[in-house]
Amino acid sequence: MLTKVCSGFSCQVNMQVLYMGIVNRAVRNISRRKIRASLVIIALSISLSIMISIPAGLMANQEAANDMANNLSSTITETGESITQALSQIDVTMSSRFAGYGFSPDATPTIIQGGQIPRDGQVLNPSNAPGFGDRYGGFRGGEISGQFGGALQASTPMNQELYSDISNINGVAAMLPSLEASDGSQEQTLEMMGRSFTTQIIDYTIKGIPLTSELLSSYNILPSNIVAGRNLRADETGVVLLSQNNSAFFSAKVGDTITIFDTDFIVVGIYEPSASTDNLILYMNLSDAQTITNNTGYITSLKIFTTSSEVVNTVVEEIRSLHPEVTVITGQERLNQLEYMQSRYNEAIESSQASIAATQATALQEIIVVVAATSLIVLFVMLYTVRERTKEIGTLKAIGFSNRAVMAQFILEGLLLSTIAGIIGVAIASFAAPTLSSLLLPSVQSSLGFTLSATGPIVAATTNPVTLSVELVLATLGGAMLLGVLGTLYPSWRAAKIRPAEAMRYE
């Protein structure tokens, strides 16, 4: 039928006539057996929707892992830079040991507040700290072990008075006491290393620093990149400097009044953070922060500026002998911690990569099964159809249909079935893909759920939603059509081989 010599326009006409007759018969044949066709289409579309969901889930996992890796590396880079710039600085925070917080190997979820860097296998189990409620932004956790290392947010208050003697140490140029507190309204439960625990989602963190003209003129204690309004000025009270994130959270512009810890503040400026870890921090005068959090005279950390980076070690010695109860961290120590953290992160990334590789292997096996199932469905249904229509095939051949024409007829029917199923499969997957892929693929998110930022807070990595890309949809439709043709190849070859003389004997 297809061998007709033709040229130009007349050829197109020939092909079209041939095409229409064949298509017409294919459509009629499929619609002749409505229940069978529906069942086949349902079965095929389910397997095709699974087929599209697997790579979609895989891509989402991969993207989540990439996002996490990118977050980690940029966080580490940013933190590393800021620490290097401040090698002459020393951070003093209250050691939780001396605040009466002991270690406990089997802690139940409680609030963790402390400046202690947890080491491997250690667990912080703080009891209530005076004056600190949920608002004070700790983290609830079960076993937050040193698996990921890193500093938790320092938020144990220290009496500012007790540490004034540090300023007398030789080599100390200035002291920057500060008070940080966070507020959060929602809690989220997260999985980490197979355990679940709850953290508070921090909405914002207030940071109170003394706005003395002396400090402001000599040190970069405030953000430098102001994008709206102005920076805080010396001795100002009742005003705040918001990050862009804060500004969005409070939906506040410069000049607006916002309420923080039940107190009104006027927004004087908005800054762009230099590191993503500063996104949630809003700045105000230390005295304001102490007043609104009911912590007059208390601070959560003390930054010490030394005259040069050479004297850092002697100053640290002196502070440690004067105040054995505090944790003293130098920029160098922070860098060391960062390296330790980096190696931990690398391990986490490696394990997530291994987990993704395992997921890919599973996905591949599943896809093979689904592809096999899809083509087997087509194969058996079409084999059955060919058998059932033996007499019809014999008749068509007796009245002059070529083997090719008979084959084309059945291939077209298989193609039609699988294309319809492909479209329905994509439609199913467009809403069921997340469910299907989570059922079919081992979750990689559980080991990727967290990153720890260098300066403290645990940041939950975003898990990418499973979406169907145009390419994936087209690939699935193409795959469906290909499987339809492949599955029909053998049955239609069988149909073409039917000998009309024998087919006529067949009832």
Binding site: G21, E392, K397, I399, M504
Partner: protein, 269 residues
Amino acid sequence: MNNPVLQIENLTKTYTLGKNPVNALTNLNLQVNRGEFIAIMGPSGSGKTTLLNVIGCIDKPTSGKVHLDNIDVTNTPENKLYKIRQDKMGFIFQSFNLLPYLNARENVELPLENKIKNKTERKKRASELLGLVGLSGRENHRPQRLSQGEQQRVAIARALANEPAIILADEPTGNLYSQNKQEIIKLLANLNLTRGTTIIMVTHDIQVANHTERMLLLKDGKIVTEKAGLHIAKKQSKCPHCNSSIKISDETCPTCKKALFETDEFFTT
């Protein structure tokens, strides 16, 4: 009439079922001229269908030659035989073999798909053919809505569509009751008479066979008897014994009561 449309020489067809070869046709010779109407009769298993299948190029002989329109079809490869069927053959089957999901007109259009490319023209031609077999107005009816006789008429229209050199009919009335049987055989005889279509028909029915000019009796794969059938009477409408007028369907002369044709030979098995 030295223009045979079909020449068969020493045709043998042997089926091998397990160890025992079955000779369906043995050394059969036959020549059919253009415009002949031939009935093939014979007991069951005598090779009638096998002979039609070989003539119709849907089965290959074991040995011997078959010439159709002077083409040696025994030497034609399978991938070209379909073209011969498409151009020269018209098949009519005992069980009609219409495609149930196509209406009458579409069934008739099937063999025209490669011959008339223009869809409207093809439809028109199919409708004409349906008119020829007396089915005007039934074009859009599917086979299950047609009577058995009507279905066979659609099949005849389909067999005529490609203007074949030979129409091969394997027991075309085998599934029909007498009324329908009469209609079909008259239709075939009429087509043969008016259009000069060559028809080779297998039948068990002497009444049907009597409408043909030539009756062949097949036995064990051989033509054992060849008789001129009703054609003399068809032309004269007179009893060969008493010259009184007879009807086409009469087996015995209504006047002299003598058998009009020696039929017993054809039924001895």
